[in-house]
Symmetry: none
Subunit: 199 residues, 4 copies
DNA sequence: CATGAATGAGCTTTCATTCAT
DNA sequence: AATGAATGAAAGCTCATTCAT
């Protein structure tokens, strides 16, 4: 088989992405070099020509995942609740588009794959979204848009819960509410905002 | 090595529990027979004298986890919101007491470990809590205790999100709100109930 | 399960017979202590209370097989061809009645199971029949009943070949001659004797 | 250890041949991957890089054995008895040259090693020689070279018996006839042919 | 840059064997 | 006499990794 040679930079990203997909679809046990090679059209040995070893691949995948998450964080919106809303809408759309992949954000599987070394990086990336949400909430509270009784962390978890919920292909709660999946992200946010303000 | 002998029934439970712990602490890759043996003080071969297979062990662990989750579902409380509150309080306490273990309820790792065969069982066990919550919400709504605008499934995910949040040993959002962990489950529920009613 | 206790002598024979059957039906790999136990209604550990170890069981099985073969050797018939005929008829009937079992006489599986130690015993037992046949032939030849040109050993192998052929449940040569299986041992011997005398 | 590399095609044949030898020499239980590796100068893991499975190795060995047997079947000789004779001479020479190996043709060990799946292949390969012999006999009988009284299948077994006899390194019948081993295959066939015609 | 060949480590599983009850 | 519990050894197999081509 003649495999087109690609510059390392491209290959690295390709491999990191494949690792993420594989981890999401097949779990830690499914992330093997052979499978990784198959995904990018290389042999297992060749995959390792672009990375020192497997942990290095996982590390790259984690960074890739971090970028994916960071994309959703808006920076240019002044109003905290509108900023939070923009994040929520983007993130929800992304979770719906790639439920398996985004489930990694609400899972410990990336940490497992990372081993001792990478755990902190994973937590940092995933925590970044949480900190963003928390900051929006705090700011909104200071402006009086949100009441003081419910602590910020609770709101953070509530929002994470809503986003995570969308990562189930089949919502394993009630069948009759499967149509929640059909509600637009914008409409969802309206409801969430009402909850935030109302409480 | 002289290992104290135990009747199979005891050993089976011991092994199933150890499997759950191991899965929670070390992930799918860390759940090996040798490690399992070490956990219960047996050799790897001896572990398999109590179970036909490794899959059989995972299966037992899943059932054990199902029991653990089922304990939290109250059946004798008529009022739906009080029933939901009782569940919330129990489950939250349990998640705080065993964060790593209970993270399995909000994770895809049990499914990964279960393989093709056991996935349905895992989903059934975990989904049972979700269905319980959904039923309480529906009932409460019929009684007019909860408004009609926010769909049930959303509340289910919100509550799951709050419980899942407690499974992080270090809340990876904001440090200043770590004291949320110190708020009593009962007090947490008060807040949640207020959100439910208020919206 | 309450297993009736049997005196060792009976158990030993029972186990040796089971070992023979197992070896014949399932091959060397199928001869395990657990399977042996199942066959005689004992646990694997209990089987070893009647024999020092597994080689000892195989050894007993070999002796048992030797007895089985020895039964077919007539001692009281003076005329060599009639003596040979009696053997042939008995042996053929036995091979037809227990093809799998008797296949062990034309196979190296017993030797494999016996290991270094038992090989000689196996050869002795199986060779005994061959020597018997050879002796009959030699004697008949001295009496002029058989010609001198075909060496004894050849006749021995011919007869062994005929007996061995009957150990195939399905004669894997020609289908149209399957009815050879239906020809009575006595009639078979008539044909064999004609060949012996005629040549 | 530095092992000289060989292209897979070569290795596969090498391994299949070694499997056959091992099976012949050490029996089903002796056919292990480690032993196989030792025979070809590889580690056990490396052996499996050339075959998917151990069963796949056995399968290849069986095909190899089939080829070995098929070599002996002449196709270009019109006269049936001469054709049979050519086969007999070749096969006898081969059995004498490789008694242990060729014993597999008169044994159930290949079937045991093959397991459920390969049994039919083994029977087909071994049966092919038998069918060949049967066809020669039938044809010769039609031409009147062989009498009608002895059924074909009997002759097939007789010939198989003679060939099988040569697979014993030490003819375990009579010692005084060990010199049968020294008789040339051609001379043996002369005797066999006389028996065939004479009856 | 890419790969085929080879390997060691580690995993699941089977099995003969020991021992306390 | 019988068994349940435990074990070490060895088998088959997977996988990350190395290296020569």
């Amino acid at each position: 088989m003649v495999t087109p040679r690609l510059p390392t930079a491209q290959r690295r990203r390709q491999i990191a992405d494949a690792a993420l997909r594989l981890l999401a679809d097949a779990g830690v046990a499914g992330l093997t070099l052979v499978e990784l090679g198959r995904a990018v059209g290389l042999s297992d040995a060749s995959v390792l020509r672009h990375f020192k070893d497997k942990p290095a691949i996982v590390e790259a995948a984690i960074e890739r995942f971090g970028e994916l998450l960071a994309e959703d964080l808006p920076t240019d919106i002044a109003d905290p609740l509108r900023r939070l809303g923009a994040f929520f809408v983007r993130r929800l759309a992304k979770v719906r588009a790639h439920p398996e992949l985004m489930a990694l954000a609400y899972d410990r599987r990336l940490r497992d794959a990372a081993g001792e070394a990478g755990t902190a990086r994973v937590d940092a990336h995933i925590g970044r979204s949480a900190r963003f949400v928390g900051a929006c909430i705090d700011e909104a509270r200071e402006q009086g848009a949100i009441g003081a009784d419910v602590p910020t962390q609770m709101w953070v978890w509530i929002i994470a819960g809503l986003l995570r919920g969308a990562s189930f292909a089949v919502p394993h709660g009630l069948g009759q509410d499967a149509d929640l999946m059909l509600m637009s992200p914008e409409r969802c946010w309206e409801l969430v905002e009402r909850i935030l303000r109302g409480a």
